[in-house]
Symmetry: C2
Subunit: 600 residues, 2 copies
């Protein structure tokens, strides 16, 4: 995960420009997307990083013969200027000055712009095509990606082994899921559904995989016919005999290279096909358009089915949160004990020490499979960078005079976790207590909210922000995201954020609640638990907590807490003690218990 040297980057860009001449294009679009348009991609698909050195999780480069225009969102505006420094680059905000507008302003009329149609979804392609059309600029698909041509040491395509997701964890058999999908397709009068999201496919087929970090799924494509025949386009190397034997008869395994051909072969102008405009390659839509298919553009029905967890999935999530809670609680007790001691002997703990510790504590659980994302172990001002990651070069000491934040999560046999805790060690940084108290109040306000059926995430976001707003503070990220079941730790479509999200919250959804506050170069605070949505009073829903680990109370301004907030802290920690107690070391249990006692 090191940043490529600038010299190498320059060579790559020059090599791509050579290919662009061969292809006779004036510009080439390089998004961070792979063929599945998700957050986690294989090393093989790190084309944007190979080309530009940019290592963020979202962004688009437009390479012309004059410049490499980098478009990233606010999370990465500092990082991109470091990783893509120098006069070869120009930098833009992905939303405020989007790439399609840049194209029209910087390319002469009638230009040709190349892109890989497997790596842009229809929504993005349409943005480029619509912006370019008035000036006669054309957006040209290039099926043989020129970066693959110039990338001598490109890692091979991943061949992670597929494993079966046992029914005891999945809770719902493939036959049942297929029948439900066929019902939806019948209602919509759709003959084929094209699924390109690996987590939807994994969930549907009750399998998991190992192709990309953090997201335990195989990269693959799938076409489901309303007749019940399922074509699964997956590299044969990923399937051992046991997995193959376990696959239902109606699932036919095919080579991924055959995906578009098969789609074309199945399609005619009398056929109706559903695709997701945000998460499928535009090449899929083009193939369907070529054959005159009637295309139903919609959010994948599997996304909408998978988002409501079944009782077994929910049970599994509750179980893995106990294991994860034990690890985080042990970590917390250890950290609070060790930070002052190590600092006193002049060998302070570092961010990477802490990262290693939480990893080891999670690994101690047999059902732990790996991390659910790149842990953020951040001391002092590093925690003010919301997407900070330690490295050999960045490994700050954790000092008792500063604050520390750990945002981490695991993949377990029975589910996925995500938790953030913020710690201090006796000496509070200036302004920390007031902000930490407000963050806690926001967390408490939202997680105790009852809200009516039909409520959407953007409608309740401010409930969490209000205590911060009251003192003139805010945080520049969402309040909550969906979480998968041994799948993506950032599972769409539900979300709690300022941005409009037109998905009704519903019982069985899993969401994080994670308000924070960040003071540049000083500290970062975030409190994050994961919740299940459950029914409340008639016509209402509420959040039911899943995450079990103490919320450090040292920095709370006790006088500013309401009776309800004190009661909440007491009850929450009582539950933590009850559920985790049997599995904790005496020291960790003792620390846990102090969080109950102080409110008694």
């Amino acid at each position: 995960m090191t940043t490529p040297k600038f010299a190498t980057t320059a060579e790559h860009i020059l090599a791509l420009r050579g290919q662009m001449k061969v292809l006779e294009v004036d510009a080439f679009v390089v998004p961070r997307f792979d063929a599945h348009q998700g957050e986690y991609i294989a090393a093989h698909d790190e084309r944007l990083r190979f080309l530009t050195g940019f290592s963020g999780s979202a962004g688009i480069a437009i390479v012309t013969h004059d410049t490499v225009a980098m478009f990233v969102d606010g999370r990465y505006s500092v990082q991109v200027r470091e990783e893509c420094a120098g006069e070869m680059f120009s930098h833009y905000h992905l939303f405020d000055s989007p790439p399609e507008t840049w194209l029209t302003q910087h390319l002469p009329a009638g230009s040709r712009v190349g892109f890989d149609p497997m790596h842009l979804p229809p929504v993005w392609f349409d943005r480029f095509a619509n912006a370019a059309a008035p000036s006669g600029t054309t957006i040209q698909p290039v099926f043989a990606n020129p970066i693959d041509t110039i990338w001598n040491e490109q890692p091979p395509k991943p061949e992670g082994q597929v494993v079966t997701m046992p029914l005891q964890f999945a809770g719902r058999g493939f036959d049942d899921k297929l029948a439900a999908l066929i019902d939806i397709m019948t209602q919509q009068d759709v003959h084929f559904h094209v699924e390109t999201q690996p987590d939807n496919i994994a969930w549907f087929l009750n399998v998991r995989g190992d192709d990309v970090a953090f997201l335990p799924v195989p990269l693959s494509f799938m076409i489901v016919a309303r007749t019940g025949v399922v074509s699964w386009f997956i590299a044969p190397e990923k399937l051992n005999q046991d997995v193959k034997d376990a696959l239902p008869d109606m699932v036919h395994c095919l080579d991924p290279d055959a995906f578009l051909h098969a789609l074309r072969d199945a399609t005619s102008d009398s056929v109706r096909v559903s695709i997701d405009p945000d998460f499928s390659p535009v090449a899929v839509r083009s193939a369907l358009e070529d054959k005159g298919a009637n295309i139903q553009v919609q959010r994948s029905p599997l996304t909408l089915t998978k988002m409501i967890k079944n009782p077994t999935e929910l049970e599994g999530l509750r179980a893995c949160h106990i294991e994860d809670g034990v690890a985080v609680t042990e970590f917390s007790a250890w950290l609070i004990d060790q930070v002052p001691k190590q600092a006193a002997i002049g060998i302070p703990l570092t961010e990477r020490d802490a990262e290693a510790k939480i990893l080891a504590l999670r690994q101690a659980h047999a059902s732990y499979l790996g991390d659910s994302f790149n842990a953020i172990s951040a001391a002092a001002g590093n925690a003010a960078m919301c997407h900070y990651a330690t490295s050999e070069n960045s490994n700050a000491p954790i000092l008792p005079t500063a604050a520390y934040l750990l945002d981490s999560g695991g993949q377990y046999e029975t589910g996925t976790t995500d938790i953030t805790r913020s710690f201090t060690f006796g000496t509070l940084p200036q302004g920390y207590a007031k902000a930490y108290t407000a963050v806690f109040k926001g967390f408490h306000a939202l997680c105790t909210l009852q809200f009516p059926h039909g409520t959407q995430g953007h409608q309740i976001d401010a409930v969490c922000r209000r205590p911060l707003w009251d003192i003139g503070l805010d945080y520049d990220h969402g309040t909550g995201h969906g979480i998968g079941h041994r799948l993506s730790v950032h599972e769409h479509p539900q979300r709690i954020a300022k941005q409009v999200n037109h998905v009704d919250l519903a019982p069985g959804m899993i969401l994080s609640i994670e308000p924070g506050y960040y003071l540049a170069e000083q500290f970062g605070i975030r409190i994050e638990n994961v919740f299940e949505i459950v029914e409340g009073d008639k016509g209402f829903m509420r959040f039911q907590n899943l995450t079990l680990a103490p919320i450090q109370t040292d920095a709370l301004l006790m006088d500013a807490l309401t009776d309800a907030e004190r009661e909440f802290l007491k009850n929450y920690h009582q539950i933590v003690v009850e559920k985790l107690g049997p599995f904790l070391t005496p020291a960790a249990l003792a620390w846990c218990q102090t969080n109950v006692d102080q409110f008694s």
Copy 2:
């Protein structure tokens, strides 16, 4: 305002069907809209009511030779079934089963559907046209409205007299407003702006009028050329010599009948014209399309300028809220005193008595011009109907054992008011105290909120609902609406509601905050004040109260109030006493003071 008898309605419908045969159309669309697509229309334009008997403020009828399909929103679903009873009618929800879908399902392919192109805005026309296109059904403009043909006793077009809005109240001269509009038009490269919203025109020209109830504006159209020439299409009968003399030279008064012709004459394919898609007749767009104009479809720039009140407008609003507050406070003290007394002697006050009283109290102020909407004076279960209006047939007694609600407002020389108060008289209905306390808590929660710049209404709506949600209750209307300056009491575009509203709240905006709770057939509760948005902490805004009248505390569960809520009530009533005290009768002042004293 009486409901037409069914027999008459039937005659009208049959007469229209006769006209439809002459026009060779299979259906005719009759919206409640006039040519300005606003909420308040002249008696001359009450075509929907004349035809169907429906008296609500929004709705659409589709008349075919078989049925009259009525489409209304949830507010009017009960009312429409009463007013449009009988087998001639069928009833639908305006949003859930919209009229354009109905058309495609109930008319044979290739049908002809007539409509008056002055009475449908482009957004509605497009809905009909897009829905009808696949089946070859055409939506035919009919310029000579057939209802006007059959309506023998149609009231004449209104000829309300225009008055000048003095600069001392308007705060900003016409020249300045024109210069600002020209700036916007220059930035947008627009040659002409077509303005069809009467309140925008009145605000722009610094005039007011008297064509429709409650909204003190002249119905008119306007075309502003970027050169600075303003063509004002207004019936000459509305302008006396003084007003004409006061008009700036660049304002040319023309007959409204010349509006579309003038628009066509001014337009060619090299001309760019801006129109509002929601509040202009589709005939305007069609005229522009006919001439090949480049049409800029956008929210009117005058809507976006007018929404931010200038300092003089704000000062005027503060002033008229004192006059209005005196009237409402006197009313409240009188009501609380009289209701038990009148009941005791067997001659209870009625809803209409109360309505007459508040009217008389407002009329006592020299600057009062009229009501800003049809007051809702509602006792007991009548208050559970959010749009209840008294009538000769509906005039319930106000009994001390039930609750009473008054929602009313005035137009004053210096501004517009809107206030709701809910009253009890010693004996509380079952469940009232808990709900009233939650409504107050919601009101308090929102009006004390500080929120960041960039916040939009839908993001903060839940802050107001939460106390109700906590106990499993909610209200089925918005939380707050914009209010004009001696203009519409429901001024768009800003709004606080569950529905998404993409308008950033901004300092200088005026909004109501009005949570409520309604228990069918038992009671209705609403607390409504009007607020100005002002700057708060750096980067934040907050609400500053304008409305001054005690909030009855008798029904509040005092033990359930927080210290902050008690402090708020004390401070609010202290301000009411200070600002209104000099103008109140001793009895009203004494009652006012009790609201302060109980929290001391």
